[in-house]
């Protein structure tokens, strides 16, 4: 019984954080909203026994990525006012309408039709299932998915080298 209550609480927190991200005038508030969303989603991962992914979410996203965002927001300057007049008329309300239609269609499809691609799990969050432990993730990651693992290692190396190259770029004096 605790799982539906936890789901409702945490999904409300995640949606509130998402609203803050898209609606806040101050970019720092947007970053804090994303922090709330990330933590709530991490709790939802734990609810589904994905312990390692929840830990990675908190450490990498909430720790590293969000700190990077806050650094850049502070460097660019929070007091830079984002001007809110619309270059395209009615763009904002049109996009909001489209997004609302998409969510309503998804909700309608899942709740009001016999839309069960997969049967609901019998045991729910049965703690005896070891699907999210470090061992359960690491074993397939280093055997079946080792090529993708190496590719992400290459990607991270290239990204780090590219970021450093961009930071050190100076236009050559003529």
């Amino acid at each position: 019984m605790v799982e539906p209550i936890l789901f409702v609480l945490m999904s409300m927190a995640a949606l509130a954080g998402a609203v803050t991200v898209v609606a806040a005038r101050n970019p720092v508030y947007s970053a804090m909203g994303l922090l709330g969303t990330l933590f709530s989603v991490a709790v939802l991962y734990v609810l589904q026994l994905a312990h390692l992914v929840a830990a990675v979410q908190v450490i990498v996203y909430a720790g590293a990525v969000l700190t990077l965002f806050l650094f850049v927001i502070m460097l660019i300057g929070v007091d830079k006012e984002e001007h809110w007049e619309e270059p395209l008329r009615y763009q904002r309300s049109f996009v909001a309408g489209m997004a609302g239609v998409v969510v309503l269609m998804a909700a309608g499809l899942t709740f009001f039709t016999d839309f069960d691609w997969v049967p609901a799990a019998v045991g729910g969050t049965d703690p005896s299932r070891t699907i999210g432990t470090v061992q359960a993730i690491a074993e397939p990651m280093f055997t079946d998915w080792v090529l993708a693992f190496e590719a992400t290692a290459l990607l991270l190396t290239i990204a780090a080298a590219g970021a450093i190259a961009l930071a050190h770029y100076r236009r050559r004096p003529h």
Binding site: E3, S11, L15, V19, V21, V22, P27, L34, T37, L44, Y45, Q48, A50, L52, V53, V56, V60, Y61, V65, F69, V72, L75, I76, K80, E82, H83, P87, Q91, V95, A96, M98, A99, G100, V102, V103, A106, A107, T110, F111, D116, W117, V118, A120, G124, I131, G132, I137, P140, M141, D144, W145, A148, F149, L156, A159, A160, G162, A163, L166, A167
Partner: protein
């Protein structure tokens, strides 16, 4: 517990991300919206993995890969944003019309 509620939550988060991506004018906020969309994808991956428990733990391994790609994207994206800001003194996408024909 049902699977559907996680899918609806993922759709809602994705919709908020799309809204922010199309409506906000600050480049940093556009990147924040992209992070929201990637999180929505991760919610779907974890939810499906939790119900179709697979031997290769496909959903969770892929979620970790998505988080890695997001970290790389943020690193390079924010470096580009800083570079643009250094050159043009603006982080507003309406001012960045250099590559427009």
């Amino acid at each position: 517990m049902l699977l559907n509620q996680f899918l609806v939550l993922g759709a809602a988060l994705f919709a908020f991300g799309v809204y922010g991506l199309l409506v906000r004018r600050n480049v940093v906020l556009i990147l924040l919206s992209v992070e929201l969309m990637l999180n929505a994808v991760n919610i779907n991956l974890i939810a499906f993995e939790s119900y179709l428990v697979s031997a290769q733990a496909v959903g969770q391994v892929f979620a970790i890969f998505v988080i890695t790609v997001a970290a790389a994207e943020v690193g390079i994206g924010l470096a580009i944003v800083l570079m643009i800001f250094r050159n043009r003194k603006s982080a507003n996408v309406d001012d960045l019309s250099l590559m427009r024909w």
